[in-house]
Symmetry: C2
Subunit: 118 residues, 2 copies
DNA sequence: CGAACTTATGAATTGTTATTCATATGATAA
DNA sequence: TTATCATATGAATAACAATTCATAAGTTCG
């Protein structure tokens, strides 16, 4: 016998209702997802990990992650559009850095999570 | 005039070296990226947000996020393969829940980050 | 065992996204 | 202003991923 009890059924229905009630609206979900997506490509994650050591210009970033300048620029654009990194011009160079502490926190939490199962 | 100073150049070179030294190996980066990717689709993020209210079976999840059963199953597989959710069988049903606190933390940090700029 | 129910999976299609190459833009110095 | 250096961008191709449909597999009940 493995029939659901009356109470269990009820509890689950309530949880569905709660989930529906608490669900952020579509735009917010899309924006959140887009940010995770920005971080979710190895090439871009690598850039972020490099930037977690401090501000770097495009050329140095390119050295740090390996690859070509154009690719890195495209990737930086994606990261910047999603507020993951910020930039400032310094003479001929453009310096990039992680946009704020939240991003670093997320990466660190993700790293911890990674260590849990191996 | 906007020439780089000698010290600045040095500092940057050091930072490149540091970034290279601290860079996790390729496999680890790929795994980390894959996890972010798992979270980075609106449909899957929605599932996670629903699960943040508590354990749910596939049918209820399907109700909570809207969509069809097959799609939700596929999405759950991706989440599970990436250790974002876990499951247990309960009679005919399979109950899914968020794998651990790290995942919830990440989502909450991401939500905070979202609120910073609007 | 067979029927009913819940979840999972394979294959195909469609839609997205990364990367590359060529070149444009912006900045500085002579 | 022109040459040079640093970065950004557009367009094209190529790699990848999401969704759907049909159906298989696992579980319980009679």
């Amino acid at each position: 016998m493995q029939q659901d009890s009356e109470e269990e059924r009820c509890e689950h229905e309530e949880r569905v209702a709660l989930a529906l009630k608490n669900m952020p609206d579509s735009d917010k979900i899309d924006e959140l997802a887009a940010r995770f997506k920005a971080i979710s490509e190895p090439s871009r994650l690598k850039i972020l990990l490099a930037l977690s050591c401090g501000e770097l210009c495009v050329e140095h970033l390119t050295q740090a992650v390996g690859g070509n300048q154009s690719a890195v620029s495209h990737q930086l654009k994606t990261l910047k559009d999603n507020k993951i990194v910020k930039s400032r011009r310094h003479g001929k160079q453009v310096m990039y850095s992680v946009s704020d502490g939240h991003v670093l926190t997320m990466i660190n939490v993700a790293k911890e999570h990674l260590n849990c199962d191996e």
